[in-house]
Amino acid sequence: MPTYLPHTAEQDAAMLRFLGLEHMEDLFAHLPAAVRLAGGLPIPEGRSELDVLDEMAVLASRNVAAGLTCFAGVGAYDHDIPPVVRALASRSEFVTAYTPYQPEVAQGVLQALFEYQTLVARLSGLPIANASLYDGAAALVEALNLAASTTGRHGVLISRGVHPHWRAAARTFAAGTGHQFEEAPLVGGVTVWPTGGRDDLAAVVVGYPNYWGFLEDLAAARALADASGALLVVAGDPVAAAVVRSAGSWDADVFVGEGQAFGTALSFGGPYLGMFAVREELVRRLPGRIVGETVDVAGRRAFVTTLRAREQDIRRERATSNVCTNQTLMAVTAAIQLGWLGTAGLREMALRCATGAHELAERVAQVPGVRLASAAPFVREFALHLGRPAGPVLAAMARRGILGGVAARGLEPPGSGGGERDDVLIVTVTERHRDRDLDAYVEALRAAVAS
């Protein structure tokens, strides 16, 4: 039975002797007999690493999706990850370290996080970012908690343009925090906000671009937040941010985003990267870790996690958040990927995504029965009406080697004509897609809707 134990049988015996014991089970002698497990765990016996690797490879081979050309997005993007980023991000010093509790031997992770924070701040247009949260959904949850504690209110007005999974997660956690949710409906792919202020709102939440790919009117959202004394939380796409106005430039209070696009593979949804940035005034309510620059005893530049009094290990039940382990490695990876892309590369990548998306949108609009769900501007993804249920269309496209997008419900307000239509497909283009991939897409879609 293979393990990673370094102990030889003689060493086991000697150590037990040192403790005045004879058998390994003596170490557990003080456990109540009733809770001692008899007969071992009811799981299979171990196999060698290489056998297990083979077994896992067999499972992996059953994921047909891995071999399809991916036009699915909605927060999980199939971007290129260059070999150099993979090589650097997998250095074992980063991978096998823990939270930088001892800054003197953790300057590597700390400085990388400082760089990550800088880049997130620039992407968001807000001055201060934290060192990561679990994922975009978790970032939204934390943003609502921050808004509630800042405003002393519990009302949340959230656009139906925000990712439905994020909205769902926010609702789940609201069972504990008591936030009251209200959803603002979409018309023509963008949110329709109520007019006039509200006195119960902690936060107004909007996607930019939204889940369906469309660019929202952030000025209206900001106006509503202002009129209500609420915070404006923008759930943004950090890739689109290279070509569209930043959350900060719209005067958002909080930016939350999913950072997977920067160097992390699709990974079936995790581990991903929750990005979180705020206005300077909100820093004492920031959830999670933040790295600050300082000096060491000799005056040398040094980094350390700071404003720790907000955190659970110090403030306990009054902490700004319960988060401890976050997604450091993904944050470090994102910094490296953004370092690779650079100013010009990031812009070019966003531009190519947008170009491909607009090209594809034009081409699919030629397919009989298919039309763009909205005339609203979009960046790199857009929703289609297929005129027939999206599920079977996707299945047919998959047989032609294409993951055609994400079937989605809830684009139009409930009750606005047929309730939740099931013919909506959200399509995403990345810089990986070549002209021939777009052609193949159109062909597959044409065949699928014609059949």
Binding site: V52, V64, A112, A241
Partner: protein, 483 residues
Amino acid sequence: MFELSSPGRSAAQLRATGIAPRDLDAMIPSEHRRDDVLETVDLAERDLVGHVTRLSARQYSVDLGAYPLGSCTMKYNPKMADEVAGLAGLAHVHPAADASLTQGWLELLVTLEERLCAITGMAAATLQPAAGAAGELTGLLLMRAYHSARGDARKRVLIPDSAHGTNPASVTLSGYQVTTVPSTERGLVDLEALAARLGDDVAGIMLTNPNTVGLFEEDIETIAELVHGVGGLLYYDGANLNAILGQARPGDMGFDIVHMNLHKTFATPHGGGGPGAGPVAVGESLVDFLPGPRPVRQNDGYAWATPARSIGRVHGWHGNALVLARALAYIETHGAAGLGEVAEHAVLNANWMRRRLAAILPAAYDRPCMHECVVTATALKDATGVRALDVAKSLLDEGFHAPTVYFPLIVDEALMIEPTETESPETLEALAEALERIVARAHSDPESVHAAPQATPVGRVDEARAARTLVATEDMATRAGLR
């Protein structure tokens, strides 16, 4: 990296797409378009590599040596699991792809859930929570849903005073109030105090077992009886599950809800502070409330299903899937007997260390410990002025990572040492000798211990200054005149 940046430089090489370029203006209306260029950083690939590689050389890690950070279980992370996570068939799968296209992933998740249930003695589990703290909050929301479904609006959750900070923080977020239960002088839950705090407004109790001082809560059966007696539930914080793998199971102790830290117990790499994974397993009575969608066996294959009374999603997708895959690989490699040996050696190492250090850094509780031991530097401080923090910093100079210090809060000058099972007796002896040298120096030359570390990339860091003048980005550094 910003110090290496120079506008006009670029590492990026994007593929040729063959798609005709378009003007941004033609795609994004001016009111949405950025009117400036978003400046990030401009590096050549060579300089990026140099920078990041040099950063890595300023970072301690498990691969470099022992990391006896109590409560964190910094054991060896098998490289095999990294290769599993790198399999294209796992890594390149979109989370929204239809279940028919992701059968391998669903099978993997279902298998992991079964293994985790078998290991903890529970009925079913959710794999969504992204770390231990997320698991805690998920578990507490399950607790709340359970009581609510019975029309039972309870208010309080009991937590021992030795508990990890995430426990009370999670309780607050779950809408309950924290009631602290003191520990006895033996380091265990004070049963009388517990009884005194019970009532029918108690939703449950959160415990780690072994607890955060490394001791097994021997009265666990009584505790379970008491809490169950008032209709409360028992929550198991699995951070210390490593100690009892194959030896005892939370389910058999009476726990109703169990979170696990796969990044601790099942050796998935900590990544410098994440990602982790914090699955939550529950007993039969809570299965219906689990977050959804859940992967389930169905006919000949696998599908997603959401439990009838699900509390809802707790993750944007399905959890930290590649962490879950690593953990399953670890479990399958070890198997039943292997996991049992893991616990045995974790406990063996910790007790050996406790005994070995007795003369210089006595254990806070002088009795058999489980996978970690908490020692105290109080006597040392009194004699020499050298504190736990100084000892920790000196250990860095000796080439080791430091233990956890000043946690749990109930032990004065605490050093919490968790050797883990993957450190050899030789390494433990070297660690002990390093501590002996430090303690000897504390007596002979305390100043030198206060002055540690000296051999690290930087010396003691000015934390106060960092908090006083926040410089959290390069741009703040520029504004503060540091660049």
